[in-house]
């Protein structure tokens, strides 16, 4: 007994030591692999973030120079009608857009999952295609399609002697943008859902069918519950993306006569403040304020879906 206890550490020590050295070496190799990313990550993401935070605590005026104002810019942002209007717009836009996108992409994915023909593969590619087109080009293209004088819509309506709807007017720009964003992203979400559907064990369907389940029942009771995590993931993506809405309205501004002011969305407002009006401080504050709104919205959403949204848990 005494011999054993005395001897054991002697035997174990060198081995443990050896292992520790190997772990250290592994660590170093690991860091070497991570380093390129870490450097870029810190230099281009973390540092600018802190710099922007620092900037947002000051106020620079054309007359009177720069002053430290602590949270004044944030107080201003949350009482600034332009900013709040932008926030309400993107929230309203999300409320319509996200369900629409979900229904379209889920519906298409379920159909493509059920149909196994060469045409289904072709359709999958085609529906995904808009995502491969840069947002800027997509927005431009739609800008032309919406055109009152040379767009196809004008021609179709013109054939019936009617004036086509002007999706670039103040009244209809909401729907014009809705269509563009859905077109752009539905295919991408469809692929995510489709991939999740492919991961389901097909024996489940067989068992369900033996139990007498119809196609609808399989969809509603098996497929959708099993891909719920993917749906939550998409929802979070869509929510963050929409709250940060920028590219499409920024491009369409040049085509939509006055329908899209420079403070249309919070991101556009921040851009205008920083780069057109030289108000970097307020621009940074708006960005952080928007970040806070996004965080709150996503948190609320995650809280509601916490049982199913296991991917972030």
């Amino acid at each position: 007994m005494t011999v054993d206890t005395a001897a054991q550490p002697d035997v174990a020590a060198p081995r443990r030591h050896h292992r520790r050295r190997r772990v250290n070496k592994q660590n170093r190799v690991g860091w070497a692999f991570v380093a390129p990313f870490a450097i870029v990550f810190i230099a281009l993401l973390v540092l600018p973030l802190f710099y922007a935070l620092y900037l947002s605590l000051f106020q620079t005026r054309l007359i009177g120079g720069t002053n430290f104002v602590l949270f004044d810019n944030y107080i201003k942002a949350f009482t600034d009608e332009n900013f709040l209007d932008g926030i309400w717009f993107v929230i309203a836009f999300s409320a319509v857009l996200i369900p629409l996108q979900m229904i379209v992409s889920l519906g298409v994915a379920l159909i493509l999952d059920a149909v196994v023909t060469r045409f289904a593969r072709f359709s999958r590619l085609m529906i995904f295609l808009p995502y491969a087109i840069p947002a800027v080009i997509g927005a431009l293209m739609w800008g032309f399609l919406y055109s009152k004088s040379f767009g196809p819509m004008a021609e179709i309506f013109g054939a019936f002697g009617m004036a086509g709807p002007d999706f670039l007017s103040r009244e209809l720009i909401f729907f014009g943008l809705l269509n563009i964003v859905t077109w752009q992203w539905a295919g991408y979400y469809m692929i995510i859902i489709y991939a999740a559907l492919q991961g389901i064990d097909p024996t489940l369907y067989e068992a369900a069918r033996i139990d007498g389940a119809s196609g609808w029942q399989i969809n509603l009771r098996i497929k959708i519950p099993l891909i719920a995590p993917a749906l939550v993931l998409i929802l979070v993506f869509a929510l963050i993306g929409t709250l940060q809405f920028f590219n499409e309205p920024q491009i369409l501004r040049y085509l939509a006569s006055g329908a899209i002011p420079s403070d249309f969305t919070p991101n556009m407002y921040a851009y205008q403040q920083a780069f057109a009006l030289a108000n970097y401080n307020y621009g940074s504050a708006i960005s952080f304020a928007l970040g806070a709104v996004v965080f709150v919205c996503v948190y609320i959403f995650m809280f509601i879906t916490r049982k199913r949204g296991s991917f972030l848990a």
Binding site: I63, G64, L140, S147, Y254, S257, F275, A276, A278
Partner: protein, 451 residues
């Protein structure tokens, strides 16, 4: 040269340009021009000091070559950093960063106070202004000055006139209106006869409205660099309201369109004969030609006439657009930079190329009063001597305007109000009141004392 014309002429180009110039902006980070490694042009005299320059005139390459060839003191390294707003955004970033701006920069007259108030451009009165003072009119100098300080070398201007379609005027039996009242009457006559729109109120051209308000005797801004913290803002006086109500009325009566200008949609309308007139500046023929107007179905139908007046007995001439070369405060050698600013686009060969190809309307009096310019039969106007009949007199009568030190905000806010006028939600007077309120509160927020 022009406000934002070519910018939106082809939206695809805008984007390509924006993307390309993003890259340019990064590359052109030359820290005050001490090193000039990214010129678009080649520098022939390599032993001379080099000055960096941002500019977007379409014939800039030729202009720079002309200058470099003739100069024995300095060479210019030129980059196109984008047109108008694109360039200003980059310059603004460079100002804040304290580095990255060129030595000399092309700026439109209405933006000069914006950069002057930030001390981003320098007074060039002592760097050879006296030598060339007589080469430009008083109005041209006023546009590039803030108070007593001279902040740019004028290059081109935009005396305004009324471009119109001869065929539409003939068809409906009207002659060019000389007053705004006649303009409205003619518009009504054309509409009643089932004709096209008479003109257009683009929400994206607030500078036109500012000029037309000036024409009616308004003076939107009183600003002097001697006391930069004080500014007078009068955007809702009777004269301004009269102009905005007049145009708002034209829109309401369906006499003019509401399409944003410089968009493909607008150009398609211009080509298709949807507009009988285009209230614009002397550079417009060049812009329209570049956008494909005046070829094919609408070839040979364009003519120009003097701008309609409020009071025909006391005509007032105004300006839209026009730009200048300014020396930036980041220039390593401002005196040398000023030499380039004064010299570029001031030689006869460059100016002649500029006006013959309708790229610019020269402000240099040597070119402006030269017989070959005055008598030139402008091809776009079917050989009409447009300079003699319309633009040279307008340029000579022009006395200059005072612009605001926060042009970006003012024009943005004006855009928004014009858009509301266009969709009928407010009247011109209301737009003026709202604009006044927005601009005054911005000015106060920026630390100005509003008088």
């Amino acid at each position: 040269m022009k406000r934002k014309p070519i910018l939106a002429a082809a939206i695809t180009l805008v984007l390509a340009g924006a993307l390309a110039s993003c890259a340019d902006g990064g590359d052109a980070n030359e820290g005050g021009g001490s090193e000039a490694t990214n010129c678009t042009n080649t520098i022939p005299k390599k032993d001379l000091p080099v000055v960096t320059m941002w500019a977007w005139y379409p014939n800039m390459e030729l202009v720079i070559d002309n200058f470099n060839e003739q100069s024995d003191e300095v060479q210019v390294c030129w980059t196109n950093a984008g047109q108008g707003g694109d360039e200003y955004d980059k310059f603004q970033t460079a100002i804040t960063a304290g580095t990255g701006a060129p030595d000399v920069i092309m700026i439109e007259a209405d933006r000069i106070p914006t950069f002057q108030v930030q001390e981003a451009i320098v007074d060039i009165a002592e760097f050879g202004y006296e030598d060339v003072k007589d080469d430009y009119s008083e109005g041209a100098w006023k546009d590039v000055s803030v108070g007593e300080g001279v902040y740019g070398v004028p290059v081109d201007g935009g005396p305004m006139g009324m471009i119109y379609r001869k065929d539409i005027f003939e068809q409906y039996g009207i002659t060019p209106p000389t007053t705004w009242a006649e303009y409205e009457a003619a518009a009504q006559k054309v509409k009643d006869a089932g004709g096209p729109l008479f003109g257009d109120l683009g929400a994206n051209t607030p500078a036109v409205m500012m000029a037309l308000q000036y024409q009616n005797g308004a003076e939107p801004f009183v600003y002097d660099s001697a006391s930069p913290e004080n500014i007078g803002i009068t955007l809702n006086d009777d004269a301004s309201k009269e102009v905005l109500d007049y145009w708002g009325g034209l829109v309401e009566k369906g006499l003019v369109g509401t399409q944003d200008q410089f968009t493909p949609e607008y150009i398609a309308g211009v080509i298709g004969g949807d507009y009988a007139t285009y209230i614009s500046a002397a550079w417009a023929p060049g812009y329209l030609t570049g956008a494909g107007v005046g070829e094919g179905e609408d070839a040979g139908v364009w003519a120009t006439a003097p701008l309609p007046q409020w009071d025909a007995a006391n005509p007032t001439f105004v300006n839209w657009g026009g730009s200048a070369f300014s020396v930036t405060s980041q220039a390593s050698d401002p005196e040398l930079a000023a030499k380039a600013a004064f010299g570029v686009y001031a030689d006869e060969a460059s100016l002649t190329d500029g006006w013959q190809n309708q790229v610019i309307f020269p402000l240099n009096l040597n070119a402006l009063n030269a017989p070959e310019f005055v008598d030139y039969e402008v091809p776009f106007f079917g050989g009409q001597q447009a300079n003699k009949e319309v633009y040279v007199p307008a340029a000579n009568e022009y006395t200059g305007m005072t612009y605001t030190p926060f042009g970006a905000f003012y024009f943005d806010a004006f855009n928004e109000q014009l858009a509301s006028v266009n969709d009928g939600s407010i009247t011109g007077s209301e737009a003026a009141d709202r604009l006044q309120e927005a601009v005054v509160s911005y000015a106060e927020e920026q630390g100005f004392t509003v008088e």
